[in-house]
Amino acid sequence: MAEDVFLSDDLLRQLMSVGEVDLLVGMSSHNAANTVSHALDAIEESFQRNFVRQRVVIVHVGGGDKDEDGVVAKGHGNLAETGLRLPGITSLRTSHRVTANVPDPPSRGIALRTILAAADLLRARACAVVSPGVSNLTPDSIASLLRPVYREKFDFAAPLYARNKYQGLLARNLLYPMSRALFGCGIRELFSDEWGFSGRLASLCLNQDVWHEEAIQARPEAWMAVSAISSDFRCCQAFLGEKPQAAKGLGTDIVEVLRQTVGTLFWCLETQQSWWWDCGRSQPAPAFGPDHELTADPTDLDRHRIFEMFRSGVTELEPILSSILDPETHSEIKSIVSREEGKFRFKSDIWVRTLYDFAASYHHAVINRDHLVQALAPLYRGMTYSFLVEHSDSSPADMEAASELLCGEFELQKPYLMERWKAKIEVKS
């Protein structure tokens, strides 16, 4: 049976004209003409300022990029030689923009697959994926993602940001320590809108038969990072400055975010079990630029509401949680739920065991996996509340120390996860 062909003839023709490249930057968009134009110009400027001798191409997966007035984005075409001229900058080579037109909004998975295919066919040495919606997309940030891959021969470059200390709590308290403990590589921003990768990682990922998986459609970057780690590729982190604020209505619905991130992480645990099972102690991923920065700017959060949602969630979801959590873990959570708001603390060891219980239950599919991930939301809120209270006056250095302790706890309790992973499931009525 012939393999599915997903590269259109039109795109293939464009790639033929481009030929082999050194650098490829990909992005996807839909109905975002203004941001697309800005992003394209930023990429082009980055090429001209930082990679003047290299053969470069921009791959844009999108369609219908009209702005509010229905005008198609400037310079947006199938295959165009860019006309950006910067004062005082010499552009030695022709820079191409390739567009893969798709009628519907492309999922991140489809967009990435197209970009990887282009990178593979064009034998790109270093690539980056950026998002036009990211507010801090600058020529320097793009170069920061490409340089470690192109010059230092890394295979994966995750971004690093300067954050407010209350930002990114999911990453700080769950995604980063858990992935670090299990996969052995300390990448802070496993889930992001921009990252860099090598051509050989692109080829590796392209040839995997995972493109129909929901986890890939939602957040493929984490899977790429995990693929790189589990294939013993070199990973690093590149500082990009301040973390851009999510656009209104995006990335703030905790349930949706958990679905995309934790769901993907659990799926990665499923598919890469052979790697993390035998993985030893974690190693830090080298960082280019400052490691990361925390600012202590004040922030306005409704802690009471967060706590209430935690408490009501744990109570109301008791039947579900009982089928997911180990009885001991569950009873500990029930006991801390009953405490007063001011005295409530979600200890690290309980939090880690909770997450490992969820991971193991995901593996055993004790309930629908999407439901399982949703059931984590109240518990995450509890952890968030506890964190906010505990670190209300902490300095960034103290928070960093606490983060390291949490990472240690995840590593310490890894045998617990392995035991739960292997255990036979019991029927709970």
């Binding site: 464009q14 033929m16 004209s17 030929g19 295959l79 010499t90 030695l92 080579r93």
Partner: protein
């Protein structure tokens, strides 16, 4: 191969054609380098005369001679000590006249150098001028009691000179020199200088030379607060020269050596009342850059910037010449790139340029050499072939200054490459004798005997080029296919249309050309005269091998 000759056979004495320089193929040489007839180790006019058949057979139509005047030879003859004579090493004035007649008999025109900007400090004019401040010729040069005048004017020979002023110990004052310190600049603010120069030019024109290359023409006049280049007064001088030339010697040509951006060189054409022709300096490094980058962008960009010139005027284009491959008309990024790609060894670099020949720069890659020559012959302008490049001669970067590209012509594998019967130690410069470019491997005789040699290929290239005026006089329109490794353009003149397609890449390429407006035309490949499929409604697909190029004559039948 049948030529479609559109002009008279070049074997005849050229008819009166005041625009002959537009259709010419120029061969640049220094008489010293070409052929030595009297075994003194230095080429001479008698020897050059003996080799005129070779040049005629090659297919060139004009010879540009580098300076052959009496000179201390501290700048390869550009430091002239006597404008109306021939350096004794190269023969006599009679020898020159004989050469001129023989060249004309073969239909070859002769262009000579005329260095107006400066003389040698051994020239009698300067000797007189410096002898005292009251000498009548004092004002023939530019003098100053201090070296602070004309501040900020760039130095041309940055590797050897530190100032544009030099101290004269005899007259105890400074004199102005834009080039070497032994080349004082003439003062064109003095009308007597102009008249003297005109007399010199008349001398040669009366002998029968067909044109002058005016060296360093941009620097004729100095004015405070300027860069002392391209001043309006300079143009006035040129206009006057041209006026007198057209009046007394119609058909004689003035060629400007102005290493400037095309927009700045444009001024030297005036309204068709200044120079007939000028070098297109910025195009040259960009052809080399394009081949290395495998990207047509540098060529397209510079030609897009090139302004229209009067119909009677012409750009002269070239790949290499007697000087370094100048990188003045490129950006710093481009210069660094050229250095890194073509002159990694710093010995190869001089004066913001690269002192290498064509073949070594192309790593002796026959395909790239052919491609660059194909570009040279098909781009708009009059092409110049530097002596020795037609056989792929090498260079000697260990000779001083730019002498590495001025080594003896390699005629055969015999003693001294057939250049001279003198003892090898006596030669003005050693012949190239390494394993790759040595005269045993690279020489005209062996290439003439080999059917598929570079020399034979160059002959066929020039034969095709000379048969079609579209190359010399036609317009150019770039097709810009999506494959940036392919440079494709249409040349049109009168009823002739030629499609040129060049693969700048080291790998095979496919390209789709938008030629729908030429629907119905049949492309005929011009070297083999083979027919290609007719142009239709869809983009025309061509595939090219590494560095391959096509010339297609388009015919509608």
């Amino acid at each position: 191969m049948v030529s479609e000759t559109r002009k008279e056979s070049p074997s005849l004495m050229p008819q009166k054609d005041n625009l002959w320089y537009k259709d010419a193929v120029i061969y640049q040489l220094h008489v010293r380098t070409f052929c030595d007839s009297n075994a003194d180790g230095i080429g001479d006019f008698a020897g050059l005369t003996q080799r005129l058949d070779y040049l005629q057979e090659l297919g060139i139509t004009a010879i540009w001679l580098l300076p052959f005047y009496p000179s201390p030879l501290r700048d390869d003859g550009y430091d002239i000590a006597d404008y109306t004579s021939v350096h004794g090493s190269y023969g006599s004035l009679e020898d020159f006249k004989t050469f001129l007649a023989e060249a004309h008999r073969r239909g070859l025109r002769i262009i000579i150098e005329m260095v107006l900007n400066h003389t040698s400090d051994q020239h009698p004019w300067f000797k007189e001028a410096r002898s005292s401040r009251d000498n009548p010729r004092r004002d023939w040069y530019v003098w100053s009691d201090t070296d602070t005048r004309y501040q900020g004017v760039p130095i041309v020979f940055v590797d050897t000179e530190t100032s544009n002023w030099a101290w004269d110990p005899i007259s105890k004052s400074y004199y102005w020199h834009r080039f070497f310190s032994h080349q004082p600049d003439l003062n064109f603010d003095n009308p007597a200088v102009f008249e003297a120069v005109w007399e010199v030019m008349k001398f040669w024109l009366n002998l029968g030379v067909d044109g002058f290359r005016l060296d360093a023409v941009a620097y004729l006049v100095e004015r405070e607060g300027t860069l002392c280049e391209n001043l309006p007064e300079t143009h006035a001088i040129i206009r006057e020269l041209r006026r007198r030339l057209d009046l007394a010697y119609p058909g004689a040509m003035l060629l400007a050596e102005a290493n400037q951006w095309p927009a700045d060189v444009r001024a030297y054409f005036g309204d068709g009342d200044e120079f007939h022709a000028a070098f297109h300096f910025p195009l040259m490094p960009r052809m080399f850059m394009a081949v290395k980058l495998e990207d047509r962008k540098p060529i397209i960009e510079i030609l897009d910037q090139t302004p229209e010139i009067p119909d009677s005027c012409q750009w002269f284009i070239f790949l290499r010449n007697h000087d370094e491959l100048t990188l003045e008309m490129v950006t710093d990024v481009e210069r660094d790139y050229m250095y890194d790609e073509y002159a990694m060894d710093r010995t190869m670099r001089i004066n913001r340029g690269i002192r290498r020949r064509l073949a070594p720069m192309m790593d002796n890659d026959r395909r790239r050499i052919e491609l660059l020559n194909g570009l040279l012959m098909s781009m708009p302008g009059t092409p110049i072939v530097y002596y020795g490049d037609e056989i792929g001669m090498g260079d000697n970067i260990y000779l001083g200054d730019r002498n590495g590209v001025r080594t003896p012509m390699q005629w055969n594998s015999a003693l001294n490459a057939g250049f001279s019967l003198a003892d090898p130690e006596r030669l003005y410069a050693p012949v190239i004798s390494n394993a790759v470019y040595g005269y045993q491997a690279v020489n005209a005789d062996s290439q003439n005997r080999s059917e598929h040699s570079l020399l034979r290929w160059m002959k066929s290239l020039l034969e095709v080029r000379n048969a079609f005026q579209v190359f010399s006089r036609g317009t150019i329109q770039f097709l810009n296919p999506s494959n940036h490794r392919v440079l494709a353009y249409m040349r049109q003149f009168g009823g002739e249309t030629v499609l040129v397609v060049n693969n700048l890449s080291s790998s095979a390429q496919a390209v789709e050309l938008d030629v729908q407006r030429y629907k119905g035309y049949i492309p005929i490949e011009m070297f083999g005269r083979n027919l290609f499929p007719r142009f239709g409604n869809v983009p025309y697909l061509l595939t090219l091998g590494p560095y391959q190029f096509y010339w297609f004559q388009l015919r509608r039948i």
